[in-house]
Symmetry: C2
Subunit: 259 residues, 2 copies
DNA sequence: CGTAGTCTTGAACCGCGTCAAGCTTGGTGG
DNA sequence: CCACCAAGCTTGACGCGGTTCAAGACTACG
């Protein structure tokens, strides 16, 4: 069981679906979320407007076009933002990991669908008080600006992937992104052999990458056949050589994935 | 000659490449740029740190990875942000129109290449004083947050296009986007017959859409052959029926292009 | 009149989507 | 314990949309 899942189970046991007064001080995303730079008095303010909600895999968090009376952070798990065309073609446009922010202040209508990809716990803030706080404490607004700019950078990297990479490069890039993120979370170096867990089904990966799930499956098989990756079950991947994977991704060696 | 080009020529005549103390009050993007909500005293502050620069079509504005000692707004013209893979494949990741902002506060290394697509005039602010002003006047930071969120929305719409639309839909979408923007600038209704000017070469359109320039050319020819669009020369398009174009774009009727 | 930049058009190829079948795994009930 | 089923995944055969390569047209500019 991963550390992520551990944290999640704890929280779920303590707060079965509604506000139970979690202390922000013990929050696993305390120093990465919107509240990163908040002092104790501001945390107190936040605790007054916050509540936890959890979602099962596949369950909708908000539906595009609907009223959204809260904003909030992903505490544990992974959520996906998706857009769809009339005829049902869908494209993922955001992948929310722990500490990422959902919702746009000063707009109460959700612009996209948000769905839980794994089990998700969110720390939600009631919209009105949160907006007011943003007006009064500049550094919360400033932190949100920073996070939004990071998201924009990620979106642009993603656009390069969608517009110009081959199916094989897309798959390699995706695995590399997930690997880097797990590495920064777990403070491991991406040097040696690493084991990572894919948080998405093949279909969700296809929606992320602008492919079909058949192509995703075939390319994963190909990378496995050629020894770039190894599989343990369907969802966990072992990387014997991270550098080799990056070569297959089409990026230059230290391609711009911070965060 | 379009209104855009008119404004541009005026400014170029007045300020041949460096600060000549343009008054912000007369600025064509006064109420749409970062400075939108600034009062007269704040404008005075901005005038002290600003200078104009102009760029010829094709000329680089900043190069990804380089030091960038200014940030600023596009006053007239169109600039493109692009990313490239090692082997030369390039993807446009941002299209900057008048009032759009270039550069990221609190990061002095440019993340992308920015190139002038047409002749461009930029209102630049020296980085240091601008960052300091942002810290002191919250509503500038707030305006920047709003603009960044709008950019993120646009990027996500774009991701749907790149990942899931056919070549034909991509072309139709692009023309529709340009048409909507010209309509809001010129305050015309997108109902009747409208004439629009493409600000990009076929190659730049291809980089925008994740296609080759041949495919762009072919699809434009196809749309013309079928009467969806008419051509006057290579770069100006007449739309006999805007609704028809939108049908071809794959979006639902009032697809989310605000801005 | 010639040349360079931009655009168009054609023909052949191929990567990925489509359609279809079968496999693997975990859960449920007899 | 095994039979059954559904969800997720894999694999194959085939066709199409878009790329690639190549030739030529249009326009601006010397």
């Amino acid at each position: 069981m991963t550390t992520r899942e551990n944290a999640l189970t704890q929280i779920n046991q303590k707060s079965p679906g509604h506000d139970t007064g979690e202390r922000c001080g013990e929050c696993p995303i305390r120093y990465r979320a919107v509240c990163a730079h908040c002092e104790t008095d501001e945390l107190a303010l936040l605790e007054g407007m916050k509540f936890y909600r959890s979602f099962e895999p596949g369950q909708p968090i908000v539906w595009g076009g609907e009223q959204m009376d809260f904003v909030g952070s992903v505490v544990t798990g992974v959520a996906a933002l998706t857009q769809t065309l009339e005829d049902g073609r869908t494209q993922m446009v955001g992948l929310l990991l722990p500490s990422d922010f959902l919702g746009r202040p000063s707009r109460d209508i959700a612009a996209y669908n948000a769905t839980a990809a794994t089990r998700v716990v969110m720390c939600c803030f009631r919209r009105k008080p949160f907006e007011q706080m943003m007006r009064q404490t500049p550094h919360v607004a400033h932190r949100l600006l920073e996070m939004t700019l990071d998201e924009l950078d990620a979106a642009r990297e993603w656009m390069l992937l969608l517009g110009r990479k081959t199916a094989r490069e897309k798959i390699a890039s995706f695995i590399a992104i997930i690997a880097r993120r797990e590495a920064t979370l777990l403070k491991r170096n991406p040097g040696g052999r690493m084991r990572i867990e894919l948080p998405l089904t093949r279909e969700a990966m296809a929606d992320y990458l602008g492919l079909t799930l058949e192509t995703v499956s075939r390319q994963i098989s190909a990378l496995k056949r050629e020894g770039v990756i190894e599989l343990e079950g369907k969802r966990t991947i072992v990387l014997p050589d991270f550098g080799r994977l990056v070569e297959e991704s089409g990026d230059d060696a230290d391609g711009g994935y911070f965060s």
